[in-house]
Symmetry: C2
Subunit: 308 residues, 2 copies
Amino acid sequence: MKRIAISIGDLNGIGLQLALENHEIIKNAVEPLYCIDYNMLEQGAKLLNIPIPNDFKCVQFIGDTFTIKPSKVTKESGAYSFASFKKAVELSKEGMVDGIMTLPIHKKAWELAGVEYKGHTDALRDFFKTHAIMMLGCPQMYVALYTEHIPLHQVASEVRNVAKLSQFLIDFYTTIRKHLNHKKIALLGLNPHAGDEGVLGSEEEQIKEAIIIAHQTIGKEIYTNPLVPDVAFTPNNRKNHQYFVAMYHDQGLAPLKALYFDEGINISLNLPIIRTSVDHGTAFDIAYKNITLNNLSYLNAITYLRTT
Amino acid sequence: MKRIAISIGDLNGIGLQLALENHEIIKNAVEPLYCIDYNMLEQGAKLLNIPIPNDFKCVQFIGDTFTIKPSKVTKESGAYSFASFKKAVELSKEGMVDGIMTLPIHKKAWELAGVEYKGHTDALRDFFKTHAIMMLGCPQMYVALYTEHIPLHQVASEVRNVAKLSQFLIDFYTTIRKHLNHKKIALLGLNPHAGDEGVLGSEEEQIKEAIIIAHQTIGKEIYTNPLVPDVAFTPNNRKNHQYFVAMYHDQGLAPLKALYFDEGINISLNLPIIRTSVDHGTAFDIAYKNITLNNLSYLNAITYLRTT
């Protein structure tokens, strides 16, 4: 059974409730190791009025004890969630676990705590000095992003960079090859109607060049030709593909979240370790309020690690 | 009961089958006037082996008789479909009908016939010398496009044009105001996370300026602030809005077609006439093959006209 380190996220948010309530389910699939000190666990569980399962294994000496303030952005909680994340990464680097699952942190709380990263992926890139590939989705459909958090007007010039794009295609294939079935990876074009033979833009030519280079390196044809973006995610086309590569953030994520908002997860690929995350935030509005949480994203994030 | 002119589309495709098979359904909702000569109707109906309903009213003297060649791109069929479309537009201009519904034409057939337009919308803009607004969707969700068939790298500069964007917002509101319920029109941002306070792009500032100008002219607050594009179409957000304005083609149409591919229709707004269309093509692969057609888009296109 795989060992998974779970960083506990912002303790003022919903992360701990998710961890406690789903322990009985996930312990049958993986061996979870929760990155939280026992006194913090006791404090949180009491606030939530949820009993701590006997076999809820915790990693100790995470960070300084503080008072949980439900739904509040605090420096202390920011520092603790960063410490928990760092511990999970360390365990994975040391080979003590097979992968890490990160519960949601609050970016502002990290900032208050003086953490220099904007989020988990940002930190991972710096920790490992490699270009992590961001993939989101659920078993029905995964979307990897070639460009991510850049202004839309900068996307086209990135797509014209054939060397960078072909390397991305090679890296992405390499990192998910063992998950691939016979279906090709759906690669999206950039322009409306995939350029309509150049009438509506020409970057599809560079995408085709990058595909050729990638296929030469890989040794087989893995990617489709650049698909017409607005029909890439129709029900029929989704039957033909499980993995999609989008040229930019919203091209892939708007359709994904329109279809599968609740069950989506975030996966960091192309790193020495494997990391998944729920695709939602700390949900301060419903934290510590005895509200039933949607656990689809949490369970999918665990399942991905189990089957990787 | 509203009178609707139906242009028959490319007779080598599926248009005529849709018209014949759905006549009994639509005649209870509207009074259809089919723009097809009776001899062409007889020829097509015989090929389809579908009896012609007694009350299937046709407009005569559309164009030259020709031999229908199922699934073929021909000059004759291109010329006839353009003539049928022109007739429907004329009837509408003359006030003989309340709106027009166009069955699918084949762009290459128009080209072979020497028609100078790339499609219906293109022709309508020239006929009326106005900027038609393109809206796609179904009753659950309509998406209007601010920019349409331009390369992606040109989109940002169009969005920075505050005068043009604010005029678009005013025109769009004016043209659909009578359909609006209490829900605001969802207006999308341009950049990932709607720019994240300027970190990922700044065009959201111009969008906000355009909204202010539009609201001043309209006299009330109709549009949302620029929404984060990738979560604009989540199930929860779709509950709050029926109409969406996308900044560019794939931003709006990829989520729409992921969700509602079969039932979508295309609507031309901001014209002196009202025109709807099915959101699919001539489907040559299944034309005249005794295959049951999906009629959702056709019926929705009629319904839109009936309720406008």
